[in-house]
């Protein structure tokens, strides 16, 4: 296959992935908009005014970047893990595996699908947020870079989960018991400066803290952590997960007998 044919194959996977989640938008795009609206109502409008300022901003403005980031993380991850596992379960992953598509193209196609869903849901949640607070952008480049890279990272994580998953349980265990706690403890609803020193140190081992804070810096110009460190960590995770996923796909782990 030549470059043009690779692009056709990549485009086919992306279109198929995007069609898949847009066809079922009531299950994929609407629920995060509803649940994030509830977050804004409960934490922002009802509890927020009693909390006062955080990081120098109204509580609603402070949590908005984190809530947007949470929806991006959840949806980019969920898209790839459910789609890849579904393809394995229904065995139509074989359609791609028997074709001369390199694994890097398969990976890129699925990851792009995850990024598109993450960004689309992030956009919808941002629109919802505008009904509750004014959003200012401190640095557009940082905002877009962090959003894109975070969606990519969690799409890769979703693919990794999908590769290893053999049962439906396997695609819910990681999001429920690992991803959700990391997100909630990643500084979405609070500044880690509020935590005792020990827990501040523990929090710094949570990669989501860096993404949430980098995004918050892009929006508000404040962050609990160094922005360069955040980008280095995100990129290192992306490289590591890409390498691991490609290694597993090349070995046929989770996709071949």
């Amino acid at each position: 296959m030549n470059t043009e044919q690779y692009l056709i194959a990549y485009n086919t996977i992306v279109v198929k992935e995007v069609s898949r989640f847009t066809r079922i938008w009531i299950q994929t795009v609407l629920p995060p908009a509803v649940s994030m609206t509830l977050y804004f109502i409960i934490f922002g409008s009802l509890i927020g005014p009693r909390i006062g300022k955080m990081g120098g901003f109204d509580y609603m403005a402070f949590i908005s970047p984190g809530i947007i980031m949470m929806s991006i993380i959840n949806n980019s991850y969920a898209n790839v893990v459910s789609s890849f596992f579904g393809a394995k379960y229904q065995r139509h992953i074989e359609e791609i595996l028997i074709a001369p598509v390199p694994y890097i193209i398969i990976l890129a196609g699925y990851i792009t699908g995850g990024i598109v869903r993450g960004l689309l849901v992030g956009f919808v949640v941002t629109i919802v947020a505008l009904f509750f607070t004014e959003l200012h952008v401190h640095n557009y480049f940082i905002v877009f870079a962090v959003v894109f890279l975070t969606a990519m990272l969690f799409s890769l994580a979703g693919l990794l989960n999908g590769i290893f998953a053999n049962r439906f349980d396997d695609i819910t265990i990681i999001p429920t018991f690992i991803l959700t706690p990391l997100i909630y403890l990643g500084g979405i609803f609070y500044s880690i400066e509020l935590l005792p020193q020990f827990w501040q140190t523990v929090s710094r081992f949570n990669p989501i803290l860096y993404m949430v804070n980098a995004f918050r810096y892009g929006m508000l110009g404040v962050s609990d952590i160094n922005i360069v460190t955040a980008f280095i960590i995100i990129i290192l995770f992306i490289l590591a997960l890409t390498g691991l996923c490609l290694f597993l796909l090349n070995r046929g782990i989770g996709i071949k007998t």
């Binding site: 296959m1 030549n2 043009e4 044919q5 690779y6 056709i8 194959a9 485009n11 086919t12 996977i13 198929k16 898949r20 066809r23 393809a87 229904q90 065995r91 139509h92 074989e94 359609e95 791609i96 595996l97 028997i98 074709a99 001369p100 598509v101 390199p102 046929g252 071949k256 007998t257």
Partner: protein
């Protein structure tokens, strides 16, 4: 040139099942080749390895001269696979399934659309191209998998039990279609449980049992090995007892039906002559089973 050449192929699954014990196989270009064997013999494992869905332990496979380990992309480009199990998305339309497959092979959209029309049309699915695949009947789903496998116009088509669960009419029309594809130069490797199907379609044959090839020859030569054929004879009038005849073994199934074993060298005319002499008149006759089926049973000691 060999379309397919397998040398010393071995596969042991993680559960310890030794599915293939060093098989050798050659399929000529433009051949219609049958790979037969009982359940669990290693047919699907062999096809799985050729289509790179199963990892082999050792051995060499080449397709049209391309080594599977060295030139996997070229090998995949030469192949069209129709698997035993349905393996398309149940939520996509027939046309989407076929066009997506074309996309994975890097085929441009306008070319893919023409081919989709051609193959879906030839397989009687064009009118249902916008139907969601799960709404199709079992036979049409199998046809859809054949159309999908042909979208890259492969030099070799591998069919793993393509007519399983398909009614007689649909099966016969699929035979005609496959014969035509083969006559246009496409090599076909077929596995099937319908031995009549293999006997009708295939020029060459291999029989695999317990991970070993136990027969690899032409269909004509294999059928030539059959020493005894069993015929079912329908009688004009009932009989209560059969005469004892040296050359033939006769069995009375019911007063109007007898079975006769015909050893190679004896003619059916001879049998009719002897029966007529004993006042037994035959109104019609047929083979008890296909000749290949009889051979298959004997080779495998079933």
């Amino acid at each position: 040139m060999n379309a397919l050449e397998i040398k010393n192929l071995e596969k042991t699954y993680a559960n310890g099942l030794h599915a293939l014990k060093g098989i050798d196989l050659q399929v000529d270009e433009a051949d219609f080749f049958a790979l037969l064997g009982p359940n669990g013999a290693g047919k699907s494992t062999t096809i799985g390895i050729i289509s790179s869905l199963v990892n082999k332990n050792s051995g060499k496979i080449s397709i049209f001269g391309f080594d599977l380990d060295m030139h996997i992309s070229q090998v995949k480009s030469c192949l069209g696979i129709v698997p035993q199990e349905l393996n398309f998305s149940q939520f996509e339309t027939c046309q989407e399934i076929v066009l997506n497959q074309a996309g994975y092979y890097g085929i441009k959209r306008h070319v893919a659309l023409k081919r989709a029309e051609k193959y879906l049309g030839e397989l009687g699915l064009w009118d249902r191209r916008h139907d969601i695949s799960r709404t199709l009947s079992g036979g049409l789903k199998r046809r859809l998998m054949i159309a999908r496998a042909l979208i890259n116009e492969p030099r070799m088509l591998i069919l793993d039990e393509p007519t399983a669960g398909v009614d007689v009419e649909l099966r016969r029309s699929m035979w005609d279609f496959l014969k035509e594809i083969n006559s246009n130069g496409t090599t076909i490797l077929l596995t099937t449980h319908y031995l009549e199907e293999a006997e009708n379609l295939c020029k060459n044959i291999a029989i695999i049992d317990k991970g070993l090839i136990i027969e690899h020859t032409s269909m004509r030569q294999l059928l030539g090995k059959l020493n005894i054929e069993t015929f079912v004879l329908d009688l004009e009038a009932p009989v209560s007892q059969l005469p004892s005849i040296d050359k033939f073994t006769l069995r009375l199934i019911d007063p109007l039906t007898i079975e006769a074993d015909l050893i190679k060298g004896n003619t059916i005319n001879e049998l009719f002559y002897i029966l007529t002499k004993h006042n037994i008149r035959v109104s019609s006759m047929r083979n008890k089973s296909s000749r290949l089926e009889e051979l298959f049973i004997r080779l495998l000691n079933i």
